[in-house]
């Protein structure tokens, strides 16, 4: 690292998520400013529980490979470490291995030499059940109920690591840290904390940097370059027309957090109550006064369980006479479907073993009972009939049995048979596969920060060299 490492530490946040599309020109510009490391988050729960439950990433492989390749090559060129967290969207073991394979390809294709630390964050169910018995799993607010059964039924549970496993990997000489589920801010705070920078500033710098240019006045293509000194953070973008302004950076500090001031991490809480934000120049913001309060060590858990298999039918309704009585008409359709199901599949299942939901777009599908405008009738309504059942085969059959009632269920205002539903597709039924639900909003209290995470070192090198 540079000789000024104790006065200042500098890092690049190249993009909000690995796969989001790094801007090469801006990355080159930031690299010229002698950063000490590059870090990037690769995951989120924001897309929903599927990625964690199913073990699949949400970005295309090519997009992840492109960004990871740019980062790894930049890191090797500048001889600085690269840290990736929450690999493959959900940060489970299968997600980490998916990115690991991509990294191996990049190393081979570009003849790189790397010491890689791979940190797994998936949790052993027997271990979690022991913690539960010892009252070492506590609910956050709000939290669904927890039990050994919930742990067993979850298809995958991850722990969100803090800085400690990352720091150990760096201390052990990793050039590239590939981490499973990980606090976004921790990826950026780990190295500054190792070097003795103030914890409040280290954590806050991570928080405002981790979304890439989302912290800027207007979203655009570029990278974030952040500098931490002993008493302040400065944050600026590189990229055409991008600016950080005090208000935007202050506002981003609260983004996607229920409390704008207090941010809980494994080892404590960073407190932004006394943070100040001011402009250094047109594009750079200075932050001061952020604090950190150490607290008993906890690790946040995330779990997802199979909710069933889904099939859907998509279509629309234009008839004003049907739209005028839509709720009662849909209730009639549902009754008819339930009846058909019991006639056809009678002995096999009862009504409680499947779910049938109409999402009526144009008719409060987005806000449901919270919709403030309950009186306005649209001229057209979009319908998604969503059937969920214990197997795909059953969900498919239930959706098939729903088609005729949707098409032809009568209203008194017309004599004779009607076709009220404009079906979009043939075949009408679309199988959606397995769907998942989140099962945990809890923290675990491990005996040591290390016990929930497993680190493997892999030395990768260009084929003509020896790694040893």
């Amino acid at each position: 690292m540079a000789p000024d490492k104790f006065q200042q530490i500098r890092f690049i946040s190249p993009v909000g998520s690995v796969g989001g599309g790094i801007c090469c020109a801006a990355l080159d510009e930031a690299l010229a400013q002698a950063p000490h490391f590059i870090a990037c988050d690769a995951g989120t729960t924001d897309a929903g529980p599927f990625s964690l439950g199913m073990g699949m990433p949400i970005f295309p492989r090519e997009a992840v490979k492109r960004d990871l390749s740019l980062m790894l090559r930049a890191g090797r060129k500048a001889n600085i470490p690269v840290l990736i967290g929450s690999a493959g969207t959900a940060g489970g073991d299968v997600h980490v291995d998916w990115v690991l394979e991509i990294a191996r390809e990049i190393v081979a294709e570009h003849h790189l030499t790397l010491r890689m630390a791979v940190i797994y964050a998936e949790q052993d169910k027997a271990y979690l059940k022991r913690l539960l018995q010892q009252n070492r799993i506590l609910p956050l607010d709000p939290a669904p109920p927890i039990s050994e059964g919930i742990i067993d039924s979850s298809s995958r549970i991850v722990g969100m690591m803090g800085v400690e496993p990352l720091q150990q990997a760096i201390a052990d000489g990793a050039d590239f840290v590939l981490a499973g589920r990980c606090s976004d801010s921790a990826l950026f705070a780990a190295i500054p904390l190792m070097q003795g920078f103030p914890p409040g500033l280290a954590w806050h710098a991570g928080k405002v940097s981790e979304c890439g240019t989302l912290v800027c006045e207007a979203l655009g293509k570029g990278v974030i370059f952040t500098t931490i000194s002993q008493d302040e953070i400065s944050i600026r973008p590189y990229g055409d027309g991008l600016r950080c302004t005090p208000q935007r950076v202050a506002a981003h500090s609260m983004y996607e957090n229920s409390n704008p001031y207090l941010h809980r991490e494994c080892s404590g809480t960073f407190d932004l109550t006394n943070s100040t934000f001011d402009a250094i120049d047109d594009v750079t913001v200075r932050i001061r006064g952020s604090e950190f309060i150490s607290e008993p060590y906890t690790v946040k858990l995330e779990g997802a369980a199979l909710a069933g298999y889904q099939s859907i039918i998509v279509g629309g309704i234009r008839d004003p006479r049907v739209i005028g009585q839509l709720e009662s008409w849909l209730a009639g359709v549902r009754g008819y479907i339930d009846e058909s199901v019991s006639h056809v599949l009678g002995d096999e299942l009862d009504k409680s073993s499947y779910s049938l939901i109409f999402h009526a777009y144009g008719f409060n599908a987005v806000m449901g009972s919270l919709e403030p405008d309950q009186t306005h009738l649209p001229h057209e309504v979009g319908i998604v009939l969503e059937v969920t059942a214990s197997t795909q085969d059953l969900a498919h059959k239930l959706a098939q049995l729903s088609r005729q009632p949707l098409l032809h269920y009568p209203i008194k205002d017309w004599a004779g048979s009607i076709t009220a539903f404009a079906c979009l597709h043939n075949p009408a039924v679309i199988d959606r596969g397995p769907v998942y639900r989140f099962t945990l909003n809890h923290v675990a209290i491990p005996s040591t920060p290390a016990e929930m995470f497993r680190t493997h070192f892999i030395d990768l090198c260009r084929s003509e060299e020896s790694c040893s």
Partner: protein, 101 residues
């Protein structure tokens, strides 16, 4: 005046799968203060709009960000059967028409 006519951004978003958070932001200090001083934006008014118990509403006034923030438990956990807004991004609408005297 309506809140949407004074704020320059009103947004909602998941804060994790179990919480919805709402940010109301302003272009300048005068607009922020106008809404703050009106007292119209408060947990009781929010609880009424979102039909939830007032004790479940967390409310923050963040002058340095020129923003107010509300957080409530998600009416349905993200991705639960029936949830129609996976990212929680379209749940801010009732706030737009809040009357600011």
């Amino acid at each position: 005046m309506l809140l949407a006519d004074i704020a320059n951004l009103i947004r909602s978003k998941n804060a994790g799968p179990f919480t919805l958070t709402f940010d109301i932001m302003f272009a300048d200090l005068a607009s922020y203060r106008r809404v703050k001083d009106s007292g119209a934006l408060n947990p009781a008014a929010f609880a009424k709009l979102y039909r939830c118990p007032v004790e479940k509403v967390c409310f923050f006034e963040c002058e340095n960000a020129l923003a107010f923030k509300f957080s409530i438990p998600r009416p349905l956990t993200q991705g639960e059967l029936g949830d129609g807004d996976m990212h929680g991004g379209q749940q801010f609408i009732p706030l737009m028409n809040l009357e600011i005297p």
